[in-house]
């Protein structure tokens, strides 16, 4: 029974977050913030091509062959639907980011402790 109540509490908290995100997405500030990011990354509507892409010499558009006509970008797009071993690069990239965070934190902690140990004591 306790577990059920705790689960419901967690889901209630998630619902609050979802409500906040929904309001943010529908607000004018949220719309302008996200549309400015969309302009930065380029339009991603169905069949929409990012700026800089052009026709290939054979007349076909870059990105053809993908279901939505979008260029595949890994996490940044869901153009290609099937699994691919080459996608492991993205997982490794994320692992490297996490490893860098851990390394910086652990090294920083050790430097801080070393600095505190080296401080001269007041006699």
């Amino acid at each position: 029974m306790k577990t059920i109540f705790r689960t419901m509490a967690i889901l209630a908290a998630a619902l609050v977050v979802v409500g906040g995100i929904y309001l943010f997405a529908k607000s004018s500030y949220g719309q302008s913030f996200l549309s400015s990011r969309s302009e930065h990354h380029g339009p991603r509507g169905a069949g929409g091509m990012p700026p800089g892409f052009s026709e290939r010499p054979d007349g076909a558009m870059f990105g053809e062959g993908f279901p939505d006509g979008e260029r595949f970008e890994g996490r940044r797009g869901h153009g290609d639907r099937g699994p691919s071993i080459f996608g492991i690069g993205e997982a490794i990239k994320n692992l490297v980011i996490i490893a860098i965070c851990v390394t910086l934190f652990v090294l920083g902690g050790r430097l801080l402790q070393g600095g505190q140990r080296d401080k001269p004591r007041n006699l």
């Binding site: 705790r6 996200l34 991603r44 996490r75 639907r81 980011i97």
Partner: protein, 175 residues
């Protein structure tokens, strides 16, 4: 006398669950690797893993929340804020993922109109979660290292002391 399997303690359960969840998280943040179908189903399963993780650490969550503005240490406060942000970004990922689902939810007859807003939020929250996950792992690194050491240092099978003496007496001494 049959050797008894040592039951897993709470630390081991936490370590195994967190380890599996972490690997699943890395895979889920690489839809190019898994393909869209596995990406969506894995992410839904990860939502369950997150809820389980929170349930396992419920007493810490409530304890720090009650002491946040009074007796809690700064370390605990930072940890709590970071974990709250992680919860928010995970929730955003799951919600926006549901809104842009192309495989999992259509299987149940649920389809939402394609909306670039949810896609943008999905990408943004995914990037933020990778970074926050790095900080989360960093803050708990010492626990991870200690728990892993304990896991691999203890024997898998628990032998009662009498059986240990029997084996010791029957094994010839090597000079």
């Amino acid at each position: 006398m049959a050797a008894n399997r040592r039951p897993m303690n709470r630390t081991t359960v936490n370590l195994l669950l967190d380890g599996v969840s972490f690997i699943a998280f890395l895979a889920a943040t690489a839809p190019a690797l898994t393909g869209l179908a596995i990406h969506e189903w894995l992410s839904i399963a990860l939502a369950g893993a997150v809820v389980t993780h929170l349930l396992l650490h419920w007493s810490w969550i409530i304890g720090i929340a009650q002491r946040f503005f009074s007796k809690a240490s700064w370390n605990s406060r930072v940890n709590y804020i970071l974990n709250s942000l992680l919860f928010i970004t995970f929730t955003v990922i799951i919600f926006t993922g549901v809104m842009i689902s192309e495989v999992a939810l259509p299987m149940f007859g649920l389809e939402f109109a394609r909306n670039d807003t949810w896609m943008q939020l999905h990408r943004l929250s995914s990037d933020a979660t990778v970074f926050l996950m790095g900080l989360h792992v960093a803050l708990h690194w010492r626990w991870i290292v200690n728990a892993t050491r304990k896991l691999f240092s203890r024997p898998l099978v628990h032998r009662p002391q009498s059986q240990v003496d029997l084996i010791a007496s029957s094994t010839p001494e090597v000079n």
